[in-house]
Amino acid sequence: MDDFLLRALIAGLGVALVAGPLGVFVVWRRMAYFGDTLAHSALLGVALGFLLGINLNLSVILLGILLALLLVAMGGNRQLSQDTQLGILAHSALSLGLVVMAFQTSIRVDLMGYLFGDILAVTASDLLWVWGGGLCVLLALGLFWRPLLSLTVHEELAQVEGVPVARMRLLFMLLIALVIAVSMKIVGVLLITSMMIIPAAAARRFSRSPEQMALIAAAIGAIAVALGLAGSWHWDTPAGPSVVVAAALLFAATQLGGKTGYP
């Protein structure tokens, strides 16, 4: 196997193993659109990173946190429903990112790479980011699994029972921002949420407990990465979208077989 393909596989597996367990929370908490908003804003993070000359992963993480805080602050505004607020933020951030990038004539930015990922161009330092960041996220998920779960089941009940709800919510947003930042290069800002949601949704049918669902989601994501890369190699299709197509096909396959009742 070629070196670049091996690196792509390792990077993709890193993303899948983190996006699955985090994704189940995104699905349970009905925050798919929130994830999308943070992901779209990542492009603005990239543009600002270029502008200020700082590490792009770092600028994306920082912008993600900033946006998460902004959303928490906007949450108090009852005049606009949350999906409207998210819609405003998601698309303004994406457009602003594109506009800021256009102003920077001195550098050539591989826009398609950021939008849809460029997994075959993954470098050794990218691998370090993906696996280092990924391990941090998994560690945090493991440490705070129980309070996060409790919060997801019923926020006020969790708060009465002593879970630091506000801090946990912030932690969760931070983890999403982190995952987006480190996997942007692999699947791109437009597709990263799909790696959280599709494997999680596919895992639902086979899961009888929250933990099971997280593990199965990670496994399905990993299979999708392997299949997608193989397909991309075989048919010379773009790698990031191929991985997502593979995930979608896996999801469709899980929906076959009749019964809709969950175990």
Binding site: V27, R78, Q159, V160, E161, R204, P210
Partner: protein
């Protein structure tokens, strides 16, 4: 000894305005150990708002809530909007509340008759089953104060009476104070020690019998039709229409 003297919970002169609407005005209430206090009032009277303030989920503009130091609270929320996508069995849901040893859990599970439900997904429970599971979760914390927000929500009429008598039993067995919200005074009459009739302010309060005669209560809920009273006094010898209202024939029962 001293612990027995101070109330489990005392709310003093609670006032709150939200979005230009006065939700509560100078509301005070007290729950002693082993006492059941029921909040009644029409929709939008501020019952849930008051409970949220007492639980520390919402901050009052004025007034204070004094809890007995270190008091353990068991809370039964009004709703559980669990995503269909979350695989969660009843036993797991109960364990999230934590705090009990296995034998304690078994006792509570027996008490609430939910043994058969333990391996069921939370989303498949009926209204009555769900409420009993929520109550069990509240009890897992060895509460000294139970706070129940509409405990009979979504439960059919016979189930409602059973659930209320269960709450009375629990009070006796665990010796905890209970603060609950109810929409119907006559259903909780036999259960409760104190009633607070709330409509932004406390309209009237006291023993359930006296509240049911109070002019302020009557103004809010209308005169007690003898048929409504029958729900309390003649529990099993009348019929209900589809809305759970007692049908006119119970009038005959009271004459016979």
């Amino acid at each position: 000894m001293n612990r027995k003297m101070t109330p489990l919970l005392e709310a003093r002169e609670i006032s709150i305005r939200l979005q230009g609407r006065q939700l509560l005005e100078r509301v005070s209430l007290k729950v002693d150990q082993g006492e059941i206090v029921t909040l009644i009032g029409p929709n939008g009277a501020g019952k849930t708002t008051l409970v949220r303030i007492i639980l520390g989920l919402l901050k009052a503009d004025q007034g204070e809530v004094v809890l007995q130091p270190g008091v353990r609270i068991g809370y039964m929320p009004q709703q559980l909007a669990l995503s269909e996508n979350m695989p969660l069995r009843v036993e797991r849901f109960l364990s999230l509340g934590a705090g009990r040893s296995d034998s304690d859990v078994a006792t509570i599970v027996d008490e609430l008759l939910i043994g058969k439900l333990l391996r069921q997904p939370m989303q498949r429970l009926s209204g009555g089953e769900r409420q009993r599971v929520l109550l069990a979760r509240a009890l897992m914390r060895r509460p000294e104060l139970l706070v129940l927000d509409e405990p009979v929500q979504g439960v059919d009429v016979t189930g409602q009476a059973a659930l209320y008598s269960l709450i009375t039993e629990i009070r006796e067995r665990f010796g905890c104070g209970v603060l609950m919200i109810s929409h119907d005074l006559h259903l909780v009459m036999a259960t409760t020690d104190q009633v607070l009739c709330l409509n932004q302010h406390v309209c009237c309060s006291g023993h359930p019998e006296s509240v049911s005669q109070h002019p302020a209560y009557l103004e809010l809920f209308g005169a007690p039709a003898s048929a409504r009273l029958a729900v309390y006094t003649h529990h099993h010898d009348h019929t209900h229409d589809i809305h759970g209202d007692v049908e006119a024939e119970s009038e005959e029962h009271s004459h016979g």
